[in-house]
Symmetry: C2
Subunit: 453 residues, 2 copies
């Protein structure tokens, strides 16, 4: 009988998150205040985040202790197993060993609670009573709803309207966890009302929903805003994935040749890969690859530039790969990962050639996802299908090169509430889509004249 999983006992859970900012070969560019063009200070962020999270955002300490109260909640489902995909390997018939970190068995079904729980905790101890946030497909909104409930905070989620309507189960999930879920654009905020005045039928976008959530947080006493990806402290919290994976691979004496994750805002990809980027900075030979959709090709086609995180320009200017803050991916795109920007940390690592990116067509991603489900059983989230497509691609390359490879990837979430997208794929309703050059050029006009990093 061959071993399929490497486990960690509760007491083996990592007690610290890893902060890549301590090890970067070149320093990150600071976020800029849009009015002054000067680096933003902690006081600029104070209206929307509690000071303890702002400190994490700018910290250069290498290791940051995970609070006991956070560990207690993590232990409900963490450490997650490191699994060997033997059945999928057989199907690919390539010289690869495939290991995946199973993040789909959290209560919310994805890696998102890894940061939702500490964010709720830090807000709680800072005296905050309520969090506002946005969500696209719903993974983040449901994770934060659960975390807020666990720490007794109120929670309001602005959900991109088209997803709100297509994925009613996500809204219901948030309700089960006691949160309020509002389709965005809404009439509750000025940002929402402005969009609705111009486009009453707007399907919404993450950029709009972020604007609404920030405005909502600022408007209420003892309320703050919470973001599920992009920011440094989010990447920090997610490193527990890669830290666990390193312990697990060490147990079986294996080191990966390639580490992969899908990349939307960058958090699950950073989560599995940052501890390996550290190894790479220290000379280890490891390839680190982010997989994104050709319909929202932020890393592969967007420039590294200063841009806003949201449509209404309420965030600081962030140094990141971007398709422009008013970009809304074509409705044709069913696979998630629709954010116009990318985490500054991930963008920085791409610029420093420590990380690379590849883009995949949605048909290929769902094909890979169905192959996975039919061999390994678990049905991956559409987002996760992107990294599985990248694994298939990497296995093909290994076969062509005649080279044995160990692949590690982050199985970021399950697709139990995204089955309508699979149905569209299986019934031939999806078409391949690649963002055309002229659309990219048009989208990028939004950042013309912004400071250059």
């Amino acid at each position: 009988m061959k071993t399929m999983k490497v486990l960690l006992e509760d007491h083996e859970i990592p007690r610290q998150w890893y902060n890549i900012q301590a090890d970067l070969p070149t320093p990150m560019r600071p976020p800029l205040h849009p009015a002054t063009g000067k680096p933003v200070g902690p006081e600029d962020l104070a209206p929307i985040f509690p000071m303890n999270l702002i400190e994490q955002e700018v910290s250069t300490e290498r290791w940051i202790d995970i609070p006991e109260e956070v560990l207690e909640k993590y232990l409900i489902w963490r450490p997650t197993p490191l699994c060997r995909a033997r059945n999928f390997e057989k199907l690919l018939n390539a010289p690869v060993k495939i290991y995946y970190k199973m993040e789909g068995n959290s209560p919310a079904g994805s890696h998102k609670p890894n940061t939702a729980i500490p964010q709720a905790y830090y807000n709680k101890i800072a005296g905050i009573k309520h969090l506002s946030t946005e969500t696209g497909a719903g993974q983040w909104g449901s994770a934060l709803s659960m975390a807020c409930q666990m720490f007794g905070l109120g929670c309001r989620v602005f959900m991109v309207k088209v997803s709100y309507e297509q994925k009613p189960y996500r809204r219901m999930m948030m309700n089960v966890w006691g949160a309020e879920c509002i389709p965005s654009p809404s009439n509750l905020t000025e940002a929402g009302r402005n969009v609705l005045a111009e486009h009453p039928d707007s399907p919404g976008s993450l950029g709009i929903a972020i604007s609404e959530a920030i405005e909502d947080a600022i408007a209420h006493p003892q309320a703050k805003y919470s973001l599920g990806s992009v920011l440094n402290h989010v990447m920090l919290h997610q490193t527990i994935i890669g830290l666990e994976a390193q312990k697990q691979m060490a147990k079986i004496g294996v080191y990966p040749d390639v580490v992969m994750g899908c990349a939307g805002g960058g958090s699950n990809f950073a989560g599995i890969s940052l501890p390996y980027v550290r190894d790479k900075i220290h000379g280890k030979d490891v390839k680190i690859v982010g997989a994104e959709p050709t319909s929202c090709p932020t890393l592969t086609r967007g420039p590294f530039a200063y841009d806003f995180g949201d449509l209404a320009k309420k965030t600081p200017l962030l140094p990141m790969h971007t398709l422009g803050h008013d970009y809304v991916p074509a409705p044709i795109h069913a696979g998630g990962l629709r954010y116009h920007g990318m985490a500054p940390i991930v963008s920085h690592l791409v610029m420093d050639n420590l990380v690379e990116a590849r883009a995949y067509h949605q048909i290929d991603t769902f094909e890979a996802g169905v192959m996975w489900a039919r061999s390994e059983g678990f049905i991956p989230a559409p987002e996760t299908c992107h990294v599985i497509a990248a694994v298939v691609d990497e296995a093909r390359r290994a076969k062509e090169e005649g080279k044995e490879k160990v692949i590690l990837f982050n199985w970021s979430g399950h697709g139990m509430v995204d089955l309508a997208s699979y149905d569209a794929y299986l019934t031939g309703k999806l078409i391949p889509y690649e963002m055309p050059d002229e659309e990219i050029a048009r989208a990028l006009r939004a950042i013309e004249g912004f400071p250059k990093p």
Copy 2:
């Protein structure tokens, strides 16, 4: 930091299933042939099951080896963790320690693959190419779809029509795994056509769907029928749950005072409890409790009698607690566990006072489920909510008695594709419902004149 989980490594997975028939203090009554009233022999079952499963059905061997090919698939997600529900305990504020066996993290989201995989395997090695089955809420149909795909078998699932319409994601899940899902009653079978002729708008029932699946299997060459609960071999396969739990509790030196599961056809309840029933037969002081809905109170209100497993009377007469084979639970009932009968093994154990049963109102079960989700995170399937209601009840009793208790229960499945039922509960659309005496009397007329056990 307090431990929350007890794990088993892959190599610690049990290699044999436990067969309670070897240890029963009184022998089970045989199933009867409806035409002759005589016990059915293996040859009577051969049209619908392969001989290797029929042998398991009637075996009195105590331990039955789990084939290597089955273990390989089990290891994708098994052994499952034994978890301590510390957050839920805090909420209950009663002198109880609550452990649960997490069966919701299988690829299909429930305990059902524990028997779907061996059933597909045994059919495969018997030369069968295709399986037909029925499903109610969809847990079983999706599990068998996955298992058939893993072993290269075709699969057709007759799904109770009202669930087919209310739970489209379950049908899609089956499609992802390559199976065909048909709303029942259908025009594909005589059984279905007969129902439709009389009740064109029939919402369907498990009894009807079983009739259709059996007829479909018999009509096709190299096809057999597969059942997800009730039968002895299904209970056998599910014992892996309880066997793992015993190993895990032994690791921490704890023995449960109470073992609980929800009971529809009986398979998840039997799965966790049969190894403990064995202990009880050998003198151990342990209480074993099945939880069922007041709207389908098979064990608490139905007599122990001979009855058919399906509406069209295609099965043998089974000795079991039953509400009559033509009973269809009120549409008002949202919580699953709608089968009219109960596994003969479970029924037998109730008659021998080794196992007891309690019934819960649906409002109480969803209330318990929401309490669970808001403290422990995971959203339980409506079926699982029944056992959680029983745990709440047991904790209350412990508090009243001032007695410390260790509770072990089977967390049989997650509710990610059953969120519409939660939504109905949260928006006040569910009402309490208890099957009235006169309805029970009417339902039981279906078994008048049948042989008595």
